[in-house]
Symmetry: C2
Subunit: 384 residues, 2 copies
């Protein structure tokens, strides 16, 4: 299969910002792309060769879309996995595989997978219904505090809640869920592992998610993480162990906690380009998007080391603002050293919606971190 021929077609499920950034690279390599996406004005509506509107959770829609492509990938995990399995049986290359997606889609299954593969992760219990959690608390089988997670269809912080009192459970959906030990972590880390079909594996440097102390929100992704070499090596090894267990093709972003005791625990994974790798566009020899493409097309992987230090700041909708988006003070931040805004192209903002991100690169990571703080202070995603 010649990926650089006009007969080859790459299918992408989902037409959001990750798909959009992937398309920069399919354009660079002149690879023919077809996107399936439910929203008619999604970020990917241009730059792909074909744009199809359809429901990613509908079996027939996904099979009909996927049967005409040579390789199928996705930018979001909420897709019909039975359809992927059908396509695999028909000989379509689907990366990541339906087998891996089934494990990852369900957080309970994902946790059991780590336990089965002796991958360090926090303690947890699985429940078929929310009401079973209440029973467990009453029986003394579960103690506060813990983290409730919906087993399925969580995204960007939805479907996750820290539970300190019985009342915190009120209003949560009554479906399959897990109760996880609340890890009092020192750092949240991530490593992106790339693997192609012939089994070549490369890891990106460990990144650190710096949290806002009060809001408990990720404020900055920092590459490389400001941690001891020993912890970095441990995180790399844990990520490689997870990669080996999944035997994936494409990227695997492994999110981890560093505990105060120096342990590294796997939190969760994403089998695709990830928010923790956006700074690779400007900071790394090979961006995560180009790397995902190299991996799923079974091309040689590119260098994963960094040219310079990189920091990523998410641009999320400000509270109290709904409607036509305005990026206030964007010219101010573009006047700062090494600052690149990425505007995803969503027309409407709403509180906490991911509308873009900003990368700050500098040969001196501490200087980048100071500029990142200025960026964060200046830019506001508001409505007209």
């Amino acid at each position: 299969m010649n990926y650089f021929s006009s007969n080859f077609k790459l299918g992408i499920l989902g037409g959001g910002q990750l798909g959009k950034m992937l398309l920069y690279n399919t354009r660079k390599f002149d690879i023919h792309t077809s996107v399936l996406e439910p929203s008619a004005d999604a970020p990917c509506k241009i730059a792909c060769n074909e744009f199809h509107i359809g429901d990613l959770m509908d079996y027939e829609t996904v099979v009909n879309f996927g049967k005409d492509v040579d390789v199928l990938t996705f930018e979001i995990e909420n897709v019909n996995v039975d359809a992927l399995e059908t396509l695999e049986k028909r000989g379509i290359k689907v990366f990541p595989s339906s087998r891996n997606l089934r494990v990852i889609q369900n957080k309970a299954t994902q946790k059991l997978f780590y336990r089965d593969h002796e991958i360090p992760t926090s303690a947890f219990s699985r429940f078929a219904y929310l009401s079973e959690i209440e029973d467990a608390i009453e029986n003394g089988g579960l103690e506060f505090p813990f983290v409730w997670k919906a087993a399925q269809f969580g995204y960007d912080g939805n479907g996750v809640k820290v539970v300190k009192h019985l009342s915190d459970l009120e209003g949560l959906p009554n479906g399959e869920c897990i109760a996880e030990e609340l890890v009092n972590f020192k750092n949240e880390l991530a490593v992106i592992v790339a693997r192609n079909e012939v089994g070549e594996v490369k890891t990106y440097p460990v990144v650190e998610m710096e949290f806002h102390a009060e809001a408990n929100q990720v404020e900055y992704v920092i590459c490389p993480a400001r941690i001891d070499d020993e912890i970095a090596e441990k995180a790399q090894n844990v990520a490689l162990k997870v990669s080996k267990a999944f035997n994936h093709v494409g990227l695997l972003a492994v999110e981890m906690f560093q505990t105060h005791d120096g342990d590294v625990l796997v939190n969760e994974v994403a089998p695709r380009p990830h928010n923790s790798g956006h700074q690779t566009i400007e900071a790394s020899y090979t961006s995560q998007f180009e790397q995902h493409l190299r991996a799923i097309l079974n091309l040689p992987l590119g260098r994963t080391d960094s040219k310079v230090g990189g920091i990523m700041v998410n641009l999320v909708g400000a509270e109290g603002h709904h409607g036509n988006v305005v990026y206030q003070n964007i010219e101010t931040i573009m006047n700062m050293d090494g600052v690149t805004p990425h505007i995803y192209g969503k027309k409407n903002t709403r509180p906490f919606r991911k509308m873009g991100h900003v990368t700050i690169v500098n040969e001196d990571l501490n200087k980048a971190r100071r500029i990142a703080a200025e960026v964060k202070k200046a830019i506001k995603v508001i409505s007209e």
Copy 2:
């Protein structure tokens, strides 16, 4: 004017590879774009918001296209300049300006412009017809060797010929032309100058075009140029003097000769992103395409220094090959350190047609140069 609003529209004349690479950045900033281009399957046919097919040299076509945009730019100089002037009078911002384009479009006018502004350039004579050159030779007013250049519509080496004998003039078009002193140069250098509407100016590092000794073709663009600091400073100053004379908005790529005596002479300019700046995508803090966009939208300019050393190799069609293009050994070069191919997406190759380029980046420029030689040896642009 808010460039990040959905009401703003950027027009681009020409839909080739330069337009395509510019579109990566309009996508990144979510700027609405409209492209006018004669060929229905040009590289820009996707990734712009609107794609119009039309003749760039036709007055009415360009005026009709341009009247609906807020800012108009172009990726090729062969456009109808009267139409640009009309649009300027109607209040459309046209960058580069019609005034500058008139000077640049005609190589005789361009040379006179340098002479008028005391910018160092090689000696030349202007002729209304080719036949006048023959008269000048007979009268002793012109001596061999010299460089014949058509005054208008040369592109990528067309319209330029070294003339050593009277017979070299045979078959050349009988239009306006110049005869230039043949400069026995030590190096060919280039500096890209960016300037925005409020007059902020930044220069990229001096790059060097390394020539193939026998074929007399540019083989590599090398950033930074391997020259003395003194020459680099002189080249920067000459480029800034040219920039000041043109008072341009957008990029101005200034091509220069370094003579064996250490003089720097201006050869010609291009008022747009340029082949000598492609390595900025991977090597610089701000790519030339993002910078052009920042300049014409009157945004603050980005850093122009380099993260790492960069080398660019053009991918041109091999001799003897016409038709459906194949990039032979592309996987071989993608396996080399820091190598990124850019495939422009032209369906058909022909000898010497620019089909793409390859960038090689490395913290060690000499290592990048060695890898670039391997790239050049391996990759072949052939037909099926």
